[in-house]
C-alpha cells in the first residue's frame, strides 16, 4: 500500500508515477499519429479536439456548477465568427484564438446574469433562446455574410516545415492539452470547489462566504471561454462558417456529450468528446454490419419514412445514451474508474 506523506500529493497534476508514465506514453502516441494514419484520421482527431474543448467548458457549467445551457452553440458561433473576421483581417492566429475566447467569455458573463434569478427549466429556456437568437442574428447580418457565411483563410503554418494538415493537427492537440489542464486546475482549485458548492446548496454556499453573483457569472464566463476557443478552432477546421452549423442540435449534442462522458469530471469530458465524435461519424456505417444492419434497413423501410435510414445514427445515438445513463449514471468516466480499480487490484 502506498501512503501519502505531504498534502501536496493531493494537489499535483500526476498523483502517481504510473499515471505520469501512462500520460507520457499517450502523448507519444498522439505525437506519432500523423506518421501512422492517413490525413482523414487527422481531421477526425481534430474534430474530437473541438468537441472535447467545448465539452470541458460545458461540464464546468453543468456538471460542476449545476446550471444548464441549451445555447452553447451560440458561444461556439460567437467564437467562430470572431475568429473568421479577425483571420480575414490578417490578425495572427494566437491573438485571434485568445480574442475569440474573450469575446465569447464576455457574452457568457452577461448571459450568466439571469442565472442569478433563474433555475432549472427556466434557465434552460433563457439559454435556449440565446442560442437560437445568436444563430438568427448572425444569419441576418451582412457583415457576417448572412446565410452564406464567411470563408476563412488558411493560417500560416509554414514555419513548422511539415505539411499543413499535420501542423494543424499538432496545433489542435497542443491547445486541447492546455485547455484540459486549465479545466483540471479550475475544478480542483478553490474556484471549482465554490462552483460545486453552489451546485449542492446555494444557501450553504452563501453562508460560507461564497459570493453567488460573482461565482455564477464566472462559471458562465469560463464555460463560454472554452466554447469560444472551440469555436475559433471550428472556424479553422471547417474553413468556412455558416449560421446553420451552430444549430440547436449542436447545443443538445454538447449537453449529451457531457452527460455521456460523466458530469463534473475532466476525464468524462475528454472521453465524452472522443466517443461522441466517433458515434457521429461512424454510426451511419451500422447498415453495413451483417444481420443487424439488414434488420435496421428492413425496419426503416417498413416503419420509418424514406429519410429514416439517413437519420438512423440519431436513433442509435439516442439508444446508446439511454443505455449508458441507465446502467452507468456516472457515464464513461464511471466505466473508466471501474476499469482502473480493476487493474489496480489485479490479479485478485
Amino acid at each position: 500500500m502506498r501512503l501519502k506523506r505531504v498534502y501536496f500529493e493531493d494537489i499535483r497534476l500526476f498523483k502517481t508515477t504510473a499515471s505520469l508514465v501512462w500520460t507520457l506514453l499517450f502523448l507519444l502516441l498522439l505525437f506519432l499519429v500523423p506518421f501512422i494514419f492517413k490525413t482523414y484520421y487527422l481531421s477526425v482527431v481534430n474534430l474530437m479536439c473541438l468537441n472535447v474543448i467545448v465539452a470541458l467548458g460545458l461540464n464546468i457549467l453543468v456538471g460542476n456548477t449545476g446550471q444548464i445551457s441549451l445555447g452553447h452553440a451560440g458561444f461556439v458561433a460567437i467564437g467562430a465568427y470572431t475568429a473568421a473576421i479577425l483571420l480575414q483581417a490578417g490578425v495572427p492566429f494566437v491573438f485571434t484564438l485568445i480574442i475569440a475566447g474573450l469575446v465569447s467569455c464576455l457574452v457568457g458573463a452577461f448571459l450568466g446574469l439571469p442565472s442569478l434569478r433563474l433555475e432549472g427549466p427556466y434557465l434552460a429556456i433563457v439559454t435556449l433562446g440565446f442560442g437560437l437568437a445568436v444563430m438568427v442574428i448572425i444569419g441576418r447580418m451582412e457583415m457576417f455574410g448572412g446565410r452564406m457565411g464567411l470563408m476563412i483563410p488558411r493560417i500560416d503554418l509554414n514555419w513548422s516545415g511539415l505539411s499543413y494538415d499535420r501542423t494543424l493537427y499538432y496545433v489542435f492537440i497542443i491547445i486541447t492539452i492546455l485547455m484540459t489542464i486549465l479545466a483540471h486546475n479550475i475544478i480542483h482549485s478553490k474556484i471549482g470547489r465554490a462552483f460545486q458548492a453552489i451546485r449542492d446548496s446555494d444557501i450553504a454556499a452563501s453562508v460560507t462566504g461564497i459570493n453567488l453573483v460573482h461565482y455564477k457569472t464566472l462559471s458562465f464566463a469560463v464555460s463560454a471561454f472554452f466554447a469560444g476557443i472551440g469555436g475559433a478552432l471550428w472556424a479553422l477546421y471547417l474553413q468556412f462558417v455558416t449560421p446553420g452549423t451552430f444549430s440547436l442540435m449542436m447545443s443538445v449534442l454538447f449537453l449529451a456529450t457531457v452527460v455521456l462522458g460523466g458530469l463534473g469530471s475532466v476525464t468524462g469530458s475528454v472521453l465524452g468528446g472522443i466517443v461522441m465524435t466517433l458515434l457521429n461519424l461512424q454510426l451511419e456505417k451500422v447498415v453495413t454490419v451483417p444481420l443487424f444492419g439488414d434488420l435496421i434497413v428492413f425496419l426503416s423501410d417498413t416503419i420509418m419514412n424514406p429519410s429514416g435510414i439517413a437519420n438512423i445514427r440519431w436513433v442509435l445515438t439516442g439508444l446508446i445514451l439511454i443505455l449508458i445513463i441507465l446502467y452507468e449514471p456516472h457515464g464513461l468516466n464511471g466505466i473508466w474508474l471501474r476499469i482502473k480499480r480493476y487493474w489496480n487490484l489485479w490479479p485478485f
Binding site: Y7, N185, R193, A197, T208, G209
Partner: protein, 258 residues
C-alpha cells in the same frame, strides 16, 4: 462586551409577522440559547442575522458594525457562521471538501494564480496546503478522520451534523449560530454534541448562539436563555429563571384548564 446586538427587528411574510420588534444582545464568549415553541420565529431571527432574510425594520450590529441587510457572504466574511436545522451540506462532496469550503474566504489566491496551481512553490499550492492543514485541525478536533474522503450524503445523520458544525468552525468565526444542533440525534450523540459545544466555547473562545428544543441540552450549556413566542420576547435570563417562568410554561403547554 456585547458582540452581537439585535435591536427592534421586524420581519413579516405577507400577512404573517414572524418576528415582532425583537431585541437582544449577546456578550462575547457566552453561550446564548433561544427557545420557543414551533413557529415562534427562532429560525427567522437566525436568517435575519446571517443575511438570508432582510429585516423589514430594526438593526443588527456585530462587533460595533452595522450588518443589517448585507448579503450572506459579506456577513460570513465578517465572522458569523452558522449551521442549519435541516442540514445544508455540500452533499456530493467529501467531508474534507466541505471543510475546505469553510476555508473559502481565507483562501486567498486569484484566478490568475490558480493557473500555476500544480507547481509546489506557487502561491496557489502553498495556500491550498495551508488551508488543508487548517481543515485537518478541524477534522482532528471533531474526530472526523474515518470520514475524511467520503461523500457526505453517504454518512450517518449524526456525522453529517458534525460535518456541518466542522464547516462552520473551519471558518474560524467570532460567533457561531447553531440551529437545533441536537435535533435528530440519539441520546449518546446528543451528549457528545453538548461536549463539542462546550469545547468550542472553552477551547476556541467562540461565542455561541443556539436554538434548541431539547431542554436538557439548553440546561447543560446555556449561560443565558431567551424565550420567544409569536416573534416576541417573553423573557430573558438565566436557565432556571426562564424555564420556571409562567409565560414560558404557558407558551409551551397552553392555559391551565379550569
Amino acid at each position: 462586551m456585547e458582540i452581537l446586538v439585535v435591536e427592534n427587528i421586524v420581519k413579516g411574510f405577507g400577512g404573517v409577522t414572524a418576528v415582532q420588534d425583537l431585541s437582544f444582545a449577546v456578550s462575547k464568549g457566552e453561550i446564548y440559547s433561544i427557545i420557543g415553541p414551533n413557529g415562534a420565529g427562532k429560525s427567522t431571527v437566525f436568517n435575519c442575522i446571517n443575511g438570508l432574510y432582510r429585516p423589514d425594520s430594526g438593526t443588527i450590529s456585530f462587533g460595533g458594525r452595522d450588518i443589517t441587510g448585507l448579503n450572506p457572504d459579506k456577513i460570513a466574511t465578517a465572522g458569523i457562521s452558522r449551521t442549519f436545522q435541516n442540514l445544508e451540506l455540500f452533499s456530493r462532496m467529501t467531508t474534507l471538501q466541505n471543510l475546505l469550503l469553510g476555508r473559502h474566504v481565507s483562501t486567498t489566491y486569484s484566478i490568475w494564480q490558480m493557473l500555476t496551481f500544480n507547481f509546489r512553490n506557487s502561491k496557489a499550492a502553498k495556500q491550498e496546503i495551508l488551508q488543508r492543514e487548517k481543515a485537518e485541525d478541524v477534522i482532528e478536533f471533531l474526530e472526523l478522520e474515518p470520514y475524511r474522503d467520503r461523500p457526505v450524503f453517504s454518512l450517518p445523520y449524526g456525522v453529517q451534523k458534525l460535518v456541518e458544525l466542522g464547516r462552520a468552525l473551519a471558518m474560524e468565526p467570532d460567533i457561531l449560530l447553531l440551529d437545533e444542533p441536537a435535533a435528530g440525534l440519539n441520546h449518546e450523540e446528543r451528549q457528545d454534541m453538548i461536549f463539542w459545544i462546550q469545547d468550542i466555547r472553552n477551547e476556541l473562545g467562540i461565542t455561541i448562539v443556539v436554538i434548541e428544543h431539547n431542554m436538557q441540552l439548553v440546561k447543560d450549556i446555556s449561560d443565558r436563555v431567551l424565550a420567544i413566542n409569536f416573534g416576541q420576547k417573553l423573557v430573558e435570563g438565566s436557565v432556571e429563571d426562564v424555564l420556571r417562568d409562567q409565560s414560558v410554561i404557558r407558551a409551551y403547554l397552553g392555559e391551565p384548564a379550569l
